[in-house]
């Protein structure tokens, strides 16, 4: 998985590409934890994300909890397969998916 971060004022946009799974989820978790300071809007761009597992969902849930306290988190460009994962796990109701 590749993670590309762009900070624009208080908006952090994170572009993910590849697989967000058991092995790569901890990498995203670390990257996000290092970057929360001063961020009011966290935008996760999933256009190039091919695969998402429950390990990735857990990281997204943790991020959502942090952003609930300091602003908002938005997930963009979700493909059909990944949207299905959000739906069957009930994460559609917890996350903001545009």
């Amino acid at each position: 998985m590749t993670i590309e971060k762009n900070l624009n004022g208080t908006e952090l946009s994170v572009i993910l590409a590849g697989r967000l799974d058991t092995t790569t989820a901890p990498q995203l978790d670390t990257e996000l934890r290092e970057s929360y300071d001063g961020v009011k809007t966290l935008v996760l761009d999933f256009a190039a994300l091919e695969y998402l597992s429950s390990a990735g969902l857990r990281v997204l849930l943790a991020a959502q909890k942090v952003m609930n306290k300091q602003g908002e988190m938005i997930i963009r460009n979700v493909n059909e397969t990944i949207r299905e994962i959000f739906e069957v796990t009930g994460f559609v109701d917890i996350l903001t998916i545009e």
């Binding site: 799974d21 092995t23 597992s53 429950s54 969902l57 397969t81 994962i85 069957v88």
Partner: protein
């Protein structure tokens, strides 16, 4: 009629037959099927001692033919052999090919051998070719002559080693029809073949050969419609299998995924299906199962793709205490796995050291 016990045939680089134990009864018509290299031809070549077994015994009509004192030529007269490559004498015409052995070995008069030869050529539909040389015959005709030649020795047992595999597809039918006629005459036949429909139609018994022996022995209905053992099922259903044994929680997950994707590409598994398979594996194994297994464990995982029905299934076998993975407290992982599956079933088992079996049909 034939009794084989603990037959072993070892070559310097391979051991196609490790331990064969079967009995063949008079009048049996046996199709021998199985993957390449599983000793099908070796078995029938051992039965008439064209190959010398490394160990074990073969008894034919109460005589131990693997015994050095046995007069093998006498036994061979009871057995005819039909080869893939016909093996006709090209310098003799058709009827001479058929007459040679009865005259030389059975002591028949030329007239007697000739009359019988013509009669046999009639039964294989080639009486009009009696004076032709093999060169001018088609492959199918040559093989029919070879069968007539075998019958001229009045054998009790006929061994056929892939009799149609060297033939043009248009000629397979004519040779199969002749072999089917033989089967109806009450001769004991053993036929190595890759033609499954033929194997099924002709036989009263089928030997599925694999893993160093006759792996499964049953009626055609049992073997083709209701095979019981794992390798037979895979062979009959044209299953493509990707199998791994995992014994450490730190196994190479990335490597596993790469291999699984490669397996999918190689066997034309739709991308979405293989994606779901990978997803079920990650959720059930990585998230639900591995955290629950003891430090020392064995987990066998097999993905099987049936090309005929385009269905992918996954089976997990693991040792240790009985644990139904569907009872995991990890409901998120279970929801993802269930969404990607038609069904997830669990059974307690006790075989090959495994105590748990999870069978998943991937959507």
């Amino acid at each position: 009629m034939i009794k084989i016990s603990h037959l072993k045939k070892e070559y310097p680089s391979a051991t196609p037959l490790r331990d064969v134990n079967v009995e063949i009864h008079k009048g049996d018509v046996i199709s021998i099927i199985g993957p390449s290299g599983t000793g099908k031809s070796t078995l029938i070549r051992c039965i008439n001692m064209l190959e010398t077994p490394t160990a074990g015994e073969i008894w034919v009509d109460g005589e131990c033919i693997t015994d050095k004192k046995c007069n093998i030529n006498k036994i061979r007269q009871k057995m005819g052999m039909v080869f893939q490559s016909f093996n006709l004498f090209n310098h003799m015409n058709v009827i001479e090919n058929i007459m040679a052995a009865p005259v030389d070995l059975l002591g028949k008069s030329k007239q007697e051998a000739y009359d019988k030869g013509i009669e046999l050529l009639r039964t294989v539909g080639l009486a009009d070719k009696a004076f032709n040389y093999p060169d001018v015959l088609s492959g199918g005709q040559k093989q029919r002559v070879a069968i007539a030649r075998t019958l001229a020795m009045e054998p009790e047992i006929i061994l056929l080693d892939e009799p149609t595999s060297a033939l043009d597809p248009t000629m397979v039918g004519e040779v199969q029809a002749v072999i089917k006629d033989l089967a109806k005459k009450g001769l004991t036949l053993m036929i190595v073949t890759h033609e499954m429909r033929f194997a099924r139609e002709i036989a009263n018994r089928v030997f599925y050969m694999d893993d160093g022996g006759v792996y499964e022995d049953g009626t055609p209905e049992q073997i083709f419609d209701n095979p019981q053992r794992e390798r037979t099922i895979r062979f009959i259903k044209h299953l493509k299998v990707f199998e791994k044994l995992i014994t450490s929680k730190d196994f190479d997950f990335i490597g596993f995924n790469t291999e699984l994707e490669e397996f999918g590409r190689r066997n034309q598994v739709p991308q979405k299906t293989i994606y779901r398979g990978g997803s079920v594996f990650e959720e059930l194994v990585m998230q639900c199962l591995l955290p629950n297994l003891e430090k020392e464990f064995h987990l066998n995982i097999a993905f099987e793709y049936a090309q005929g029905t385009e269905t992918l299934s996954m089976s997990l076998k693991y040792d240790g205490a009985h644990f139904d993975v569907r009872n995991t407290p990890n409901i998120v992982s279970l929801a993802i796995a269930e969404n990607a599956s038609e069904s997830i079933e669990y059974t307690e088992m006790d075989a090959d050291g495994f105590t748990n079996l999870v069978s998943v049909k991937i959507k």
